[in-house]
Symmetry: C2
Subunit: 285 residues, 2 copies
Amino acid sequence: MHLFRQPQKAHELATSWQASRQTIGFVPTMGCLHEGHMSLVKAAREHCDRVVVSIFVNPLQFGKNEDFGSYPRPFARDVEMCKAVGVDMIFHPDRAEFYPRNFRTRIESGSIGKLYCGKSRPGFFDGILTVVNILFNIIKPSQAYFGEKDFQQLHLIKQLVRDFRIPTKVIGMPIVREASGLAMSSRNEYLKDDQRAAALCLSRALKLAQTAYREGDTNGLSLMRKVEEFLRTESAFSFDYAQIVDETTLDLITGEISRPARLLLAGYMGSAPRIRLIDNDTVNR
Amino acid sequence: MHLFRQPQKAHELATSWQASRQTIGFVPTMGCLHEGHMSLVKAAREHCDRVVVSIFVNPLQFGKNEDFGSYPRPFARDVEMCKAVGVDMIFHPDRAEFYPRNFRTRIESGSIGKLYCGKSRPGFFDGILTVVNILFNIIKPSQAYFGEKDFQQLHLIKQLVRDFRIPTKVIGMPIVREASGLAMSSRNEYLKDDQRAAALCLSRALKLAQTAYREGDTNGLSLMRKVEEFLRTESAFSFDYAQIVDETTLDLITGEISRPARLLLAGYMGSAPRIRLIDNDTVNR
């Protein structure tokens, strides 16, 4: 397995693979790998000749009061996990080289990037699209894998690739959950036992919406209210949003749900540190 | 010579050239080709195995009250000019296909893109970087050629390529001038004879600054004032800006000029239509 910090080195190897017509599967991550990430890596390993994982805690996607500094970075463990499943290259760039002092260009995700998580985290998706676009230019992947847990992120990356005609196929993979129902997340590492139990309110809220829909409540606004009411009963959890959206366009559905719809949830556990948790699932499938 | 309107067709041919290790020289234009453009095409023809010219009047880089609708589009003449110098492919996309209705992603050029021409034309450089980035994804050029006439544009495209690690070399080529000194521009087509004579104030202002510098006025602010005063004596010309900048960083130089500096000029001729003209040259070389 190759481990590169320099973008130029990673680019040269990727280019040589491409020149010999080998397909490249790419999984961009911020490290602290868990089973969710590994499901992406395994899919890439199955579909592609070469597999590249990037590990880079991207400062552009963190707000001033967010957890950039404390974000978990168990790098040696991540490397072992990648080795174990046959990753060909880990790209682990140095922040100062990746974003030199005079770095100025950004990608703007547009209107959808200002909704939902983008409303609570201004600039979040612009930071993600910027790093992903740069990583794609370096790695030139045939296919890139992202988890559906970050559903809005997946949507905006598909939009980026479509709008900018990037020659990469974006593949979304299902959320991986613990047996309890808790969606896998690097930020779960922050949770104390009682918080981990309280965090189950998210997956329970998803089930609640699915059951209510099945039992006849097919109105978006009504379902969102029920979910919000339920989440607000969990005192350890601080509610951010519960939104039912069109799976394809990410437009909010406030009326009758007549298309494939997804319930997106976000909120925080604790206060110092405040741990952001998100989750989502289909409503009517 | 190939002529494609569909991005996919252009991409496939460019990819096949790349796969057989042929270098691609690319000249993005808005058409209405003149000797300035042709100097870029000829350089590409000399340096590269394949030459691609794009002809696309990019709506994203025009403001609401600007000349998108009336911008000259002598397409048949452009095609003949390209054929005559051995261009391999003209890419002439359809606007609705290039920017479909749900197109949302943009590139933001950052602080330098808000100065000089960016101050008078908000969003101008973001529109340029967005289209250039997409064109680069389609054509995958080894080298891309831009005129120094649009000096700030050239700077921002170099910034884009550096920041986003686009595997293309950006080459700036000198301004081509008519015998009178008027810098070649597609917008010169709009000028009536008296306006064309008055427009010489721009190249004369550049000479004035060079002479003043040589004769001992080496202060940025003082030189800018002299140039502005001179340009304001031309009643047919409506002054926008005269700025002396560091050639490498594009930072304004208000004090002693101690690095390679360039004088950037912009203004308008006439009122209906208002014709934007720009020009620039080195001050101290």
